[in-house]
């Protein structure tokens, strides 16, 4: 299994997809952090002032917004085998295809932890510089540290979900578009309609909020429950994908 995980890392780091997505996530988190800090204390924005604990927790949770890029990282990691038809040599090398899926889950989980720590580190540094310039840099202690680590955990779990989703759908463009539509349209609708908002806490977006958000929102699960629920979504998708899609004939 270690061999297969290392093979997945070789695949990942011999193309530039990882670099593009990581840079995208870094740029994104810098943008959000700056935007957030700029409007902190502005009465119309509703963002608390710099120096308040609530502001700090919110500003340090912006890294979680890169979840979509980590999702895409996982999706590409799985679906590239089908898109570029490398599924044939991959499954010739490892005929027990479930092992390939497990190796990808492990490889992308571990890589994403590192990438996610980079993202939250950039998040923290950006906020420290910007908020510091505005009067009060947040400390890296207590709740602040917990928020940063929760965001990193959420990002890594989203990469695992991406691998699972990719195994289930196999089609790269379809999986990415489907995931975007789901996260930004379907779940937002469910979240905003009172009749269905009770179910929102059980959904991937709700679980992400449970893990990272400190805003007042709809009813949510506890942070650890949210993390386990998210991970469960990823693993269930991978299991279903292995049984229903990956084991099918490679044409």
């Amino acid at each position: 299994m270690i061999r297969l995980v290392r093979a997945e890392w070789t695949k990942l780091f011999t193309t530039k997809v990882w670099l593009g997505l990581l840079l995208g996530a870094v740029v994104m988190v810098i943008g959000f952090s700056v935007l957030f800090t700029s409007f902190a204390g502005n009465a119309q924005s509703g963002i608390p002032a710099v120096g308040t604990p609530l502001y700090e927790e919110l500003a340090l949770a912006t890294g979680a917004n890169a979840n979509i890029l980590f999702l895409i990282l996982g999706i590409i990691g799985m679906t590239q085998e089908y898109r570029h038809r490398t599924a044939t040599p991959t499954f010739l090398t490892t005929p027990r295809r479930g092992q390939v899926v497990v190796a990808k889950l492990l490889a992308y989980a571990l890589v994403s932890v590192v990438f996610a720590l980079v993202v939250v580190a950039v998040n923290y540094v950006t906020v420290v510089i910007h908020a510091g310039a505005r009067g009060a840099a947040p400390a890296l202690t207590g709740d602040n540290l917990e928020v940063l680590l929760s965001s990193a955990l959420a990002l890594a779990i989203y990469a695992v979900i991406g691998v699972g989703l990719g195994a289930l759908l196999k089609n790269q463009v379809g999986a990415i578009v489907g995931a975007l539509v789901y996260l930004f349209v379907v779940e937002q609708v469910i979240r905003s309609i009172p009749a269905t908002s009770g179910a929102y806490k059980w959904m991937p977006g709700g679980a992400l909020e449970a893990l990272t958000a400190t805003f007042q929102g709809p009813e949510l699960l506890g942070a650890w429950q949210g993390a386990l629920l998210l991970l469960g979504y990823g693993l269930v998708a991978a299991l279903l994908g292995t049984l229903l899609a990956v084991r099918r004939d490679v044409v």
Partner: protein
């Protein structure tokens, strides 16, 4: 002659490079017999492969022949565990592919010439070295072996079709396998590349005792390479045997070309014998006979001849006869993967 952008080398030098230096120290490998028994596979209404059985012996090159859509690729994919057969088995010394403890070390296969376009040839190979637990140095060794050493650091997306075939072959060679399975490997190779491949496959089989199965829809493409043939049509076995057996079956089945100043009289005589004759100016095409028979009749009738020869190799003719008719079953099946490729 240039070979797809690779630095040209004298053919004999390339041959030496391919045959001796780059082959791992083991001169011979453990013999592996490939057995296919009762293999069947349907796609919806289309019976792609039906009750197919044949054996591929070590130490020889076996041609797996049939027209497009005959079920060759489907059979190879079932053999290699990429497709699940509806019935039957395909085994390597008794074990199905998916049960092999180290598949790349037992079987090397060339099925696809598709690679991640952004990954270099060398990195592509390294991925599978890692996955199969082979030393990364194998990547460089097989690149030399297939004549791609100078292109290893270039992105595979920029490779020509011939270079892709070579990289696919390099992937198959990574584990120094006892069995080589190649699906239409000559596609995209230039004449020099085809020549090289012929010598390479014969060397792998005859000198090193490997089992080589190579598919093609053209007999003429592999005629000089293969020792045995397995011919399929419409997913069924049509003929299995040595090239000698196939050739002996070809006797009397050829088409004869006759030219002369007064062949019309000969045409009448041959038609009276029951031969199928077509005439075009001073040329006759006689089907289902041999030059000897036509010459004998011409001599007996006293017709002057300027040319008398077999039009086809005879082998091609029998291959065509064996597989004709199967095409019409296979043709209306666009769902068969091979036809859609």
């Amino acid at each position: 002659m240039r070979l797809d952008g690779i630095t040209p080398a004298a053919p004999d030098e390339r041959h030496r490079r391919g045959d001796i230096i780059s082959i791992p120290s083991t001169a011979t490998v453990d013999p592996v017999r490939v057995e296919v028994r009762g293999l069947s596979k349907s796609f919806g209404q289309v019976h792609a492969v039906t009750d197919l059985g044949f054996t591929v012996e070590p130490g020889s090159v076996t041609g797996f022949l049939g027209p497009n859509g005959a079920g060759k690729t489907t059979t190879l994919r079932m053999l290699l565990g990429l497709m699940q057969p509806d019935a039957g088995t395909a085994t390597f010394n008794g074990a199905p592919y998916t049960a092999l403890p180290a598949p790349l070390r037992t079987v090397g296969a060339v099925l696809e010439t598709a690679f991640h376009p952004a990954r270099t040839g060398r990195n592509h190979l390294r991925v599978y070295c890692r996955a199969a637990g082979l030393p990364l140095s194998r990547a460089d060794e097989v690149l030399v072996q297939v004549g791609l050493a100078d292109a290893g650091n270039r992105r595979a997306g920029g490779y020509s079709l011939g270079m892709r075939q070579r990289l696919a072959l390099a992937t198959a060679l990574l584990g120094d396998p006892g069995v080589l399975v190649l699906d239409e490997p000559a596609n995209g190779l230039d004449p020099e590349g085809i020549q090289w491949l012929r010598g390479f496959l014969r060397h792998m089989a005859h000198d090193q005792g490997r089992t080589v199965l190579v598919s093609s829809h053209l007999l003429s493409e592999v005629e000089q390479t293969v020792d045995r043939v397995v011919i399929v049509g419409a997913g069924r076995l049509v003929r299995e045997g040595s090239m000698e057996q196939l050739r002996s079956g070809a006797d009397g089945a050829g088409t004869v070309l006759v030219r002369g100043p007064d062949v019309a009289r000969l045409a009448e005589v041959l038609r009276a014998d029951g031969a199928e004759v077509t005439q075009e100016d001073g040329t006759l095409t006689v089907h289902g006979t041999t030059p000897a028979d036509v010459g004998r009749r011409a001599f007996a009738t006293g017709v002057e001849l300027h040319e008398l020869r077999s039009r086809t190799s005879g082998l091609e003719e029998i291959y065509f006869q064996l597989t004709s008719g199967s095409e019409q079953f296979a043709a209306p099946s666009p769902t068969v993967p091979e036809a859609s490729r």
